[in-house]
């Protein structure tokens, strides 16, 4: 009776024989490994687009940040709030205060046509009018070049992402808004967040240029604590003077990114799934030919007393190892090719461009490795079973 | 009939032929200044110890290989200087091969195997069928026409191999150890068949063998040793 240690050493030696024979069938092995690498590259690559987009949309939202829109509006673009309403909102309970007043910024959100650097074609770039609290209601805002615009003056600052993706937004250049020409005086960063895709101006300046009177579209507020949100929300929604929708910034941006994320994720999974099926066929092919090339060797081992279970397990291990090598190559390839690849796309909810970078996150890499392991296991299982079922006597006679 | 052939009566003339193989830095002289004439209608057995160059000589006569020096003339045509392409067409027209291991396509039935050389001709499908049936009848394999090689016995496979060799009615039938892989009984049947092809159908046959039973059936036997031919077996 073979003990577990014996069984284990059987597996080790059969696996070793298999791995040693790889150089003789390197063509087939390379095809499988690269095939699986291809699947993982595409899977991780496509999903990194969605991950990057979501991250850009949500990274800048702090847990104690809230946003208020007109009720029924699904984005700032279609929202509208009067000065009297924004004042009520700023004074609502739960809003953090400093010596200068409440940390709430009533803002305007419009789009302006500026050509993309990559195509030279017009794109909808978001143009935001802000109040002085804008810097405190968001996290990680920083001027990285030039200076902040002067309040009340016809000047703008540009997010780092927008400056990178669209032409004519460098410090010193001017943007044309109708009959006005506004100089760009600074570039700011927002930790890679959505604000980096925007152009900022003083809300009052923007109101004048767009004939908006004294109306706004949204209020960004920082609360005393994340827990103060419910109190803040209740006070606004129960106020008969107001007809508004209150959300945490994180929830709002997550919702904004949902359409695109869903589209990319659906398509990405579909494509990767189809590719994975193809790769399974490739892996099956390789392992079947490995088994048939080693028919006699396996039969000899069986005749010597090696168990069929050991044969199955060691063939599965071989297949799994090949697949994991492929998965690692694919993950690495995706990381080096796509991580932090800068681009911009349309955010459908607000009709405006958002600059972002592909993000190959550890979760995606793990997912890629898991897929490759599954491909390897499926690709190894059937050939291993065939090998285990070989009639020993007949196989020994085979050439 | 060809002029040269009628002039001296030899269908195959091998003159002054030498063949050197290079293995690494070493030169192996397989054939040296070899002469051989085979008249039309002869059944020649070519004997000799293994490694004596029998198969090499057969390949030179069949246009599968070229001599290092000398000339090979078959049916009045000097074949040692033909291009690969012309040589292939020449083989299709003039030579039938029979191999020791039959060399049938495992994926084709007996009749499809026999048909292979006819695919290189302009015969219609119906004509090809006629020739295939005739060849199979001649070797006595008509009842096994639809069988795949793996379901045929060794003797039957060799019959199919011979049928494939004669289906185009070649000038010359070249057999390399045709009985080498068969038992005595099946071997005798194959030899009967070759003899009949020679005597009743006038086929010129050159057969490489190391079996005296086989060479006994030939009309003449020559012996090859150390790259030279002689009419007597060498000790």
């Amino acid at each position: 009776m073979a003990g577990p240690i014996n069984w284990f050493s059987q597996i080790v030696s059969i696996t070793k024989f298999g791995l040693l024979s790889i150089p003789q069938r390197r063509g087939a092995v390379a095809a499988t490994v690269i095939g699986i690498a291809g699947v993982v590259t595409v899977l991780v690559g496509v999903l990194s687009i969605a991950a990057g987009f979501r991250q850009a949309m949500t990274v800048s939202a702090s847990p104690d940040g809230a946003i208020v829109l007109r009720s029924g509006a699904d984005s700032e673009m279609v929202s509208g709030l009067g000065r009297d309403q924004t004042r009520v909102i700023a004074d609502a309970p739960g809003v953090a205060r400093t010596a200068q007043g409440p940390l709430a910024s009533a803002e305007l959100f419009v789009i302006i046509n500026i050509p993309k650097r990559s195509t030279g074609l017009d794109a909808n770039v978001p143009l935001r009018g802000v109040e002085s609290a804008a810097w405190q209601v968001r996290d990680n805002m920083k001027i990285v070049q030039g200076r902040m615009f002067e309040w009340g003056k016809d000047e703008v600052i540009v997010g780092a992402g927008a400056a990178r993706e669209f032409s004519g937004l460098d410090v010193g250049s001017k943007i044309k808004v109708g009959r006005y020409e506004w100089p760009v005086v600074g570039i700011f960063s927002a930790n890679g967040g959505a604000a980096e895709s925007e152009i900022w101006a003083d809300a009052k300046v923007l109101q004048a240029a767009y004939n908006r009177g004294d109306s706004f579209q949204s209020v960004y507020a920082r609360l005393n604590s994340p827990g103060a949100f419910q109190e803040f929300k209740d006070s606004l929604t129960s106020n008969p003077q107001l007809n508004v929708k209150v959300a945490r910034q994180s929830e709002y941006y997550a919702e904004q990114s949902e359409t695109i994320t869903r589209l990319i994720t659906t398509l990405g999974f579909l494509i990767a799934f189809l590719m994975a099926i193809g790769a399974v066929f490739g892996a099956l092919n390789t392992m079947y030919s490995a088994v048939s090339a080693r028919t006699r060797e396996i039969a000899t081992l069986r005749a010597l007393g090696f168990g069929s279970g050991a044969v199955v397990v060691s063939l599965m291990i071989e297949s799994l190892l090949l697949a994991l090598v492929g998965g690692a190559i694919g993950g690495g390839l995706a990381y080096f090719a796509f991580n932090n690849f800068h681009t911009s796309t349309m955010n459908w909810q607000s009709f405006s461009q958002i600059a972002f970078a592909f993000k190959v996150t550890p979760e995606l890499l793990v997912r890629g490795i898991v897929w490759s392991a599954l491909i390897g296991l499926i690709g190894g299982l059937f050939p291993a079973i065939r090998a285990a079922r070989l009639p020993i006597a007949a196989a020994l006679r085979e050439l | 009939m060809n002029e040269n052939q009628s002039n001296n009566g030899a269908l195959v003339r091998v003159e002054n032929v030498g063949k050197i193989f290079h293995r690494g830095s070493e030169d192996i002289h397989v054939l040296a200044d070899l002469h051989l004439q085979v008249p039309a209608g002869e059944f020649l057995a070519l004997m000799g110890p293994s490694g004596s160059g029998k198969t090499t000589l057969l390949n030179l006569i069949g246009g599968l290989d070229r001599p290092t020096k000398g000339s090979v003339v078959v049916a009045g045509e000097r074949i040692d200087q033909l291009s690969d392409r012309t040589l292939a067409a020449w083989r299709a027209r003039h030579v039938g091969f029979v191999f020791q291991l039959y060399n049938l396509m495992p994926v084709l039935t007996a009749e499809r195997n026999v048909e292979l050389p006819l695919l290189l001709t302009h015969l219609s499908k119906a004509d090809r069928k006629k020739h295939v049936d005739a060849a199979l009848a001649m070797v006595g394999l008509s009842h096994r026409a639809k069988h795949y090689p793996r379901t045929l016995s060794g003797g039957e496979q060799q019959r199919a191999g011979i049928a494939r060799g004669i289906v185009t009615d070649p000038t010359l039938l070249l057999c390399d150890e045709p009985t080498g892989d068969l038992d005595r009984k099946a071997g005798n049947e194959i030899l009967d068949l070759l003899q009949a092809l020679n005597r009743e159908h006038g086929k010129t046959i050159i057969m490489v063998t190391h079996d005296p039973h086989a060479s006994a059936r030939a009309s003449r036997t020559v012996y090859l040793d150390k790259g030279q031919l002689s009419n007597e077996p060498v000790k």
Binding site: G72, G178, A279, N285 | A88
Partner: protein, 385 residues
């Protein structure tokens, strides 16, 4: 064709290996069909744009509105035969995920401008008679099982009625079809007069953008210039461009789809190339002796190359046909993203490209084994039988 049997028999030699290779090729071409259709859905609109149509929008951005009064001024510009406007309604039917476009238009001139939308004369008549009437494309009608006579409530994210109500109700009076395969039949169109009268007072008389028709497409650029000059230095300056350019700019806002699709397909085909190439190389290697026999029998080098290439091409083209066919079946079931890709279909052009690609794949994967087979020396090959 007399060699077909030989080629086919060779393919059947290792049924399992051939089937597995065939299946990976099938998968590659399913992906090809699928990705072509996605690309078509995202950027194909350019090809559907009318050559004689221009789009006029507010110079600063599409969200700024233009006065309704521009229509008359545009139609006075030489070379312009018709001008009509649309406005983005931004409506939601039941759930924000059920995305489709709804725009108020002036029915008669809108239909005259867009002959690619096919509506029966009776339904058109009904639309002209029903103030709250709307027509909807076949795709959206099928999607929500709308029939003529249905009342459809749609919530606008942008427009409220004077009464402050955001839910607008429309009567479906017509269902239009697309003239061509690529025509988008997801939007709903309703009457501008109903819309303008009901919306809040501050917004009356403002529209989203104009479509104008030019007499001679060759003059489109000059006419566009004239239009923009007409409104220069007014409160609402315009930007006019051919419909194709407008659609293209819109599509390119999504990102470089062509590049992404090409990259994915590149990865897929590179992989399949390896798998198929490896199969063919194996097939040739294990057949060395047989190839020697064929050469002995008198097959020329060219014929040997032909046989191997024919075998690999047969495999890939068969896989291509199966894959493209399967893709076509799946794609004709419609948009997999429920509404985000309204123009999702398999273009005939890409079908043909796919077939060409499958033949090319066969040639590329077969050529090295074929050359290897060609270079075999007969005498050596026979020894390896």
């Amino acid at each position: 064709m007399k060699f077909f049997h030989l080629i086919w028999s060779n393919l059947k030699r290792k049924k399992l290996r051939t089937s597995l290779t065939l299946l990976s090729i099938v998968v590659a071409f399913v992906l090809f069909g699928f990705l072509s259709s996605i690309q078509q859905a995202l950027v194909g609109g350019v090809a559907m744009a009318g050559a004689d149509r221009l789009i006029v929008r507010h110079k600063v951005s599409i969200i700024q509105l233009l006065p309704e009064s521009y229509k008359a001024r545009m139609e006075r510009i030489p070379g312009v035969t018709l001008a009509t406007h649309q406005t983005w309604f931004g409506g939601i039917y039941q759930d924000p995920k059920n995305f489709f476009m709804q725009n108020p238009v002036v029915p008669e001139e809108f239909l005259a401008m867009h002959p690619e939308l096919v509506l029966s004369p009776e339904q058109k008549e009904a639309w002209l008679k029903t103030r709250t009437g709307a027509i909807v494309g076949r795709k959206t009608a099928d999607r929500f099982h709308w029939k003529i006579g249905d009342k459809v409530p749609i919530q606008s994210t942008i427009w409220s009625t004077a009464a402050g109500n955001r839910t607008w109700e429309f009567d479906i009076v017509g269902i239009y079809d697309g003239e061509k395969k690529g025509t988008d039949t997801t939007p709903l169109f309703f009457r501008y007069d109903y819309f303008d009268e009901a919306r809040q007072p501050g917004a009356k008389g403002l529209v989203g953008w104009y479509t104008i028709r030019v007499k001679d497409p060759a003059q489109a650029v000059e006419v566009a210039k004239l239009v923009d000059q007409e409104f220069e230095n007014s409160a609402a300056e315009t930007k006019t461009e051919p419909e194709g350019a407008f659609v293209q700019a819109w599509a390119s806002q999504i990102g470089n789809i062509v590049l992404i699709v090409a990259a994915i397909l590149g990865a897929v085909f590179f992989t399949i190339l390896l798998v198929t190439g490896n199969t063919m190389a194996q097939a040739v290697r294990e057949r060395t002796g047989e190839l020697g026999v064929l050469k002995a029998i008198g097959f020329t080098n060219g014929q040997i190359v032909g046989l191997v290439l024919a075998e690999s091409c047969l495999l890939t083209v068969l896989g291509g046909i199966l894959g493209l066919g399967l893709a076509w079946l799946v794609i004709s079931r419609g948009d997999p993203t429920s509404g985000l890709l309204p123009m999702f279909f398999f273009p005939t052009r890409d079908l043909l490209i796919g077939l060409g690609l499958s033949a090319a794949l066969g040639l590329v994967t077969g050529i090295f084994p074929a050359l290897q087979a060609m270079r075999l020396r007969v005498a050596d090959a026979l020894r390896r039988m």
